[in-house]
Each structure stands twice: as C-alpha cells, then as structure tokens.
C-alpha cells in the first residue's frame, strides 16, 4: 500500500535572475515497508525532492500525499506530519549539537512533541538503533563517539518519535567503509522489525543494491528510469543509468560522460539528457531512427509505477512497454 507519494511535483528556485527547475515533474511512491533508493548526481534535484516530501519546501505545483491525503502546510499539520515522516540527515557530526549529550539529542523530538515517558522512549530508540545498553550512552557527548555511533544516535533521534517513514539523505556517505555495512544493516533490520518504510537519497548505486527494493534514477529534475533494483541495476535501459553503472570502479567498459551535470536553469529541449547521451553520440539512436525525436521531442513525465519504466526514445524503440 502506498504510504508516501509525490504526484506531478514541481519545485522551483530563483537563481541569478533565472528560474531553476530543481524538481521538474516527478511521480514517486514509497509503499508500506518498502525501501526506495533515489539516485543521481549532485544537482539533479534529489535532495530538493526529499526536502519537498518532508514538507520543508513548498512545491510550485503538484502534490505530496501521505496515506492518500494531500499534505497540509499549516504549522500544526506539519508538526503532526513530521512525527510520521522523519529525516535522517547527511552528516551526523554536523547535525548533532556538540554540547548536547546523547540523551538530550534523542530526547529533543519527544520534548517538542510533548510526549510522555521520555526516558523510556530515549532508551528504546537508542537500543533499536543498536546502541546497547542505552543507559551507558545517555551522558556521552558526540565527540566521544565514533562516526558510526554518531550516525546511530541520529537515527535514534528519528526513531524516538515512532515514525513510519525515514527519509535518509546519503546516510553512509560520510562514514568509513567498514561502518557503512553496519548502518545499512540497521536500516534493513528496522524495516523487518518495525515495518518502517524508507526513501534513501544517494549517489551510491552499491547502497541501492545492498538495501533497496526499488530504485528511481533522477536526472535534471526528472526521474528518467525506475523499477525493481534487480532489473534497473542488472539491465539498465536508460543510457544515463547505463553510464552511472559503467563508471563503478569494477566496471569493464566505463562510459565517462563529459562535463558537469547540466544547469537546472537551462534544461535542454528534446530529451533532457540528449546533449550528453552516448547512445545518440555513437549513432545508435540514428540507426534506430529516433535521433530526431531525441533532439526535439520531450519525454512525458514517468507515471509512478512499481514496474520498470524508462524515459528514453531509444529504449522504447526497442522495448515499447517502457
């Protein structure tokens, strides 16, 4: 069942006198007990999309739905919403107050929401986050903890409100390789034990492979490919997904895209990926007779679907069901 949904979502910012279309039409769902990975390069709009789903940004158009009902933006409604949908921020060191003990850091949420049994709540959140025995961590300050333990404290802070969805922005990017697996296992365990759903925002495809059920690949404000992780990551249809996978260190034939990710204030016409597309550049799109479409015909916004979908003229010429 769908818990959290973005429907035809657009988010825009003013940027040096122009409009940046950071999120330029996105449909996305996160089901109950489902882990969805949102992947893409810096600047593709994935963090803006996550912030909008949390109610931290107002969409220019489109709707965020939680449990089927559109998100209301009154202070009271947002406060209630944030008990249900919790953010796990990117950098645990930066997001913990160095002068607050672990207890104070985790108790902050329950205090804001006026919840009773604060001590029990904090203890249970810490132990669910794998910090046991929790009482031992109560008086400890962040600088006395390792990076992995700090990330667990941050996760405990989110768990203290008994949320149903976690939105995690690069949850392991600032952690050591050795700790990474532990934190990812924790997310899987929380799903198994508490039925938590999660939207994990990352540029790390290995993370998606490790823990996600579905993956959505974002490029320049749009989701260009989405579907079950096994399908998308084992046999990618969109040239952008192919390129992202091909530059993983172990890959035999890297397709290194030139240049930086393009500018959301100047989204190219036609397929938004066409100026960097290796399928178009190599002439394969012309062989399939779609090169004209690639340059001139924009693709429609992909519907939210649990099936494999790709917004690519070339891929559709070969697999029309996409």
């Amino acid at each position: 069942m769908t818990l959290l949904e973005a429907r035809d979502l657009h988010v825009q910012f003013a940027s040096r006198g122009r409009r940046a279309r950071a999120v330029d039409g996105v449909n996305l769902t996160v089901g109950e007990g489902e882990i969805v990975a949102l992947v893409g390069e810096s600047g593709c709009g994935k963090t803006t999309l996550a912030r909008t789903l949390l109610g931290l940004e107002r969409p220019a158009s489109g709707t965020v739905l939680y449990g089927g009902a559109p998100l209301a933006y009154s202070t009271r409604a947002l406060k209630a919403y944030r008990r249900e949908v919790q953010l796990v921020p990117q950098d645990p060191t930066g997001s913990l107050n160095p002068r607050h003990t672990v207890y104070e850091a985790v108790a902050e949420g329950p205090r804001i929401h006026g919840l009773r049994d604060e001590r029990e709540r904090v203890a249970s959140a810490l132990s669910r986050a794998g910090l046991r025995p929790p009482e031992r961590f109560f008086p400890v300050y962040p600088h006395e903890l390792s990076g992995g333990q700090r990330q667990r404290v941050v996760i405990a802070g989110a768990l203290a409100l008994d949320p149903r969805v976690l939105v995690a922005d690069e949850p392991v990017a600032s952690l050591d390789a050795s700790v990474r697996g532990e934190i990812l296992s924790l997310l899987l365990r929380l799903r198994a034990e508490l039925g938590l759903s999660a939207l994990v925002v990352t540029h790390d495809l290995g993370l998606a492979w490790n823990i996600a059920d579905r993956v959505a690949v974002m490029y320049l404000g749009r989701i260009v490919e989405s579907g079950p992780v096994e399908q998308v990551l084992s046999a990618p249809s969109h040239p952008y997904t192919q390129a992202l996978l091909s530059v993983l260190p172990d890959s035999p034939a890297p397709i290194v895209l030139g240049g930086e990710p393009p500018d959301p204030t100047r989204i190219p016409g036609g397929c938004r990926f066409h100026p960097r597309c290796h399928v178009l550049a190599s002439g394969k799109a012309a062989e399939a007779g779609v090169d004209g479409l690639c340059r001139s015909q924009p693709l429609e916004i992909l519907p939210s679907s649990t099936e494999l979908r790709a917004a690519c003229h070339y891929a559709r010429a070969r697999q029309p069901q996409l």
Partner: protein
C-alpha cells in the same frame, strides 16, 4: 617509518613501523579507516605534520632521506620532487586568488619560470587536466567540485614532480566526476612515469587505479600486494571486510545483504594486545589476544617469508594474520623465540602499549619479518626533525620507509 604524536595525555602512536616502496610510474594505494594512520603516513612523507609529531625511520626520495634534509632542501623538494593533492579542494585553495595564480605559484617560487612563461605553462596544465585555459582567471567558488579537484591536480603537476601523494582525491565527488578524475590520474601516471601514492577508504577505487595496495589498521600495514589480488582475494580479515564493504552491483550474494565490520577502530593510546584487530576479528583464535603476526606471504607460494623474497619485498601478496602462517607456525603458538625482542615492534619504547606482547613475539622473530634486520638505531635516533630528539636508548626500532624510484 613510525610516527608518534605527543599529547598532554601521553604519546599517541599513529604509525607503528611501516615499510613501503613506490617505483617510477607506479601507483600505490593506501587503504584503511579513519584513525588507521594512512593520512599521517602520507603527510609525514614531506614533513607536513605538526610539531607534536615525532617521525622516526627513513623516508627516501630518490635515495635522499627527507627526514635529514635542511629546510632549504626540503622547500626545494616540496612541489618540485614530490607534491600533494589534498582532500577537500574546497578548503585547500585560496578563495580570494584566481586559480591560475595559485597554479603558477610553485613555479615562480622555485624560480622555474618567469611570469610570462608561467602563464603559458598554466594554460598547458589546465588543458592537461581537461579545463579550458580561460579558467585560469576564475576564482575557486566559480568552479564545481570536480573542476576544483582538477585545479589541485594541475597545481601538483606544475613543477613536474617525480611523486604525487593524493589524499582521498575523489571522496567528496560524485561517481561521474570521480570517474573523470580517476581516468585523468591514471593517464598522467602512465604518460609521465610519475609515482603515485593514493589514499582512500574505498578499496574498490584504489583497486581500479593502483598497481599495488597496502591496507593499514591501527598504524600498521596488515595486508599488501598486487591491487587486484588484494581486492578480490584479501587474506587478512580486515582487508576482506574493506573489500566487501562496497558491493559489486549485480552480485547476488550482496543483494539485501550489506556487509560491514562490527565494533569501532581502536584508540591508538589503548591498543589491544596481540593482533590489534583481534577484538573485531570474525576469525580470531585465542592466541590472537597476545600474539602479533608480522606480514607473511599470502600468495600460496610456500616457504619463503616475505622479508626474504627475492627483489622487492613489496611485490608479493602478504598479510599479517595467523591464518596465513604455515601450519606448524600456526599450531605452535607457545614456542618461545630466541629471546631477542622483535626488531619491528615500535611499542617497545612505549610501556603502556603492548609490552607484554613483546615477550611473546618470538616465533615471528625467527623469520617472519617483513624487513630484514637492517633498521639501524642510528637512523631512528638521528632524524633531524625539528621536533624530534629521540635520544632514548629504548626508542623504537623503526623500519625504513623507502620511496626510492
């Protein structure tokens, strides 16, 4: 080489006896988690550490000991013979100066070019790292993360050094930009015969870029060898954990099964006895709690201890783990050695850390050292580092760190 930080709370051994070599045109990857000593080791190579750090051993750059250089010589060597690409280009570049001036600075300081020549050279360097020449007039904030990292690489190349030390050069970058930077680094190494030492916690990145890998844990090299061999067939449980931390996408065994390593890296001031990895080790034996194993051949070729291998001690795959020892060594851990303390034990001078184990390290002293009994106390105590007057006769017998080309 060994590095000890002096702090109010006591001595902190950050690097505890490491020997490494990099040849011309060769790339060496140094892997490990935060606190393993890998960045300390790299910064020590050009004496870039704070005064509280005491460096012992030898650091040979084209045969010349960096630790014995006077300041003038050291200044001449920095940038010109060996340069550093620091992590976080955002903070390493001066925000109020144009990047072209910053790239030209080492050239001008070293008197290697006039202003006009430097301008031409900067344009050429920018082109080499894939940036248009007009970018010389940009300020750092006008560049993206990947472009700033390229500027750092152009700076490191400016004086045509023989060795480049790159500390996490791609950690803050996106996958696609990371691929661009790594491709650039690889081609520069191949084209110019520069030696590279690259530091990262991501073994998969190092394996794709480097010829050889050394995995550090708690200030020591615990596994080393040809990059592919270490990455795909790590023999030390810590090396294996690092290699498995980043899954191969498409590998069914890692699907929904993230692999990590329990526990936290040890506090360098309170290192566990024996093998410092044993409290976190999934394959620890009871004897690991008191027994420390030196690097030993792990490539399946019997008999020949690593330290006595023909030619370079670094060419072979070696691991410091009881599980790679030949059967008799593994099963007779109680056997006491000839009584000589193990030459490579830097803890010998630090009573708090590991004294009991020094007695037990006999079996390895019989032949398991990574380095022949060459390290001379004279080198260790004669190092003319400004902050360094280790006249203590019990000073650690640091092993030489070779960087000869």
């Amino acid at each position: 080489m060994a590095v000890t930080y002096r702090s109010a709370a006591g001595d902190v051994p950050a690097v505890r006896g490491v020997s490494l070599e990099v040849a011309e045109g060769e790339a060496l990857g140094l892997a490990g988690e935060s606190g393993s000593g890998k960045s300390t080791l790299a910064m020590a190579l050009l004496r870039l550490l704070p005064k509280s750090a005491r460096v012992t051993g030898e650091i040979l750059l084209d045969g010349e000991d960096v630790l014995r250089m006077n300041w003038g010589r050291l200044r001449a060597v920095r940038w010109a013979s060996a340069s550093v690409v620091f992590q976080g280009a955002q903070h390493a570049l001066n925000p109020v100066r144009r990047v072209g001036e910053q790239i030209a600075e080492p050239l001008l300081v070293h008197g290697m070019a006039t202003q006009a020549e430097a301008r031409t050279r900067v344009a050429g360097l920018l082109e080499q790292v894939g940036l248009p020449a007009w970018r010389a007039r940009s300020y750092p904030h006008e560049l993206s993360g990947g472009q700033r990292q390229r500027v750092m690489i152009a700076m490191a190349l400016a004086c045509s050094p023989r060795l480049i030390i790159a500390d996490e050069p791609t950690t803050a970058l996106d996958v696609m930009i990371q691929a661009q930077v790594l491709t650039l680094v690889r081609s520069l190494i191949a084209d110019r015969g520069i030696g590279l030492i690259m530091i990262s916690h991501d073994l998969s990145v190092l394996a794709a870029t480097c010829d050889r890998l050394a995995v550090m844990y708690a200030g020591r090299v615990v596994e080393a060898g040809p990059a592919r061999e270490v990455f795909t067939g790590a023999r030390h449980p810590y090396g294996r954990a690092l290699a498995e931390a980043f899954p191969t996408v498409g590998d069914p065994s890692s699907r929904m099964a993230p692999r990590g390593l329990g526990g936290d890296p040890p506090d360098p001031m309170r290192l566990p006895g024996g093998c410092s990895f044993h409290p976190r080790c999934p394959a620890a034996l009871p004897s690991c709690a008191w027994r420390q194993v030196e690097l030993w051949p792990a490539d399946g070729v019997a008999g020949d201890p690593a330290g006595h291998a023909a030619g370079s001690t670094q060419a072979r795959h070696t691991a410091a783990c009881v599980h790679v020892l030949p059967e008799p060594e593994r099963s007779e851990p109680e056997r006491t050695g000839p009584g000589t303390p193990e030459p490579g034990m830097p803890e010998a001078g630090m009573p708090e850390a590991g004294m009991p184990e020094a007695e037990e390290a006999g079996p390895e002293a019989a032949g398991g050292q990574e380095v022949p009994n060459a390290p001379s106390a004279a080198n260790a105590s004669g190092a003319p580092d400004a902050a360094d007057i280790p006249d203590d006769p019990g000073a650690p017998d640091a092993r030489p760190a070779k960087e000869s080309a």
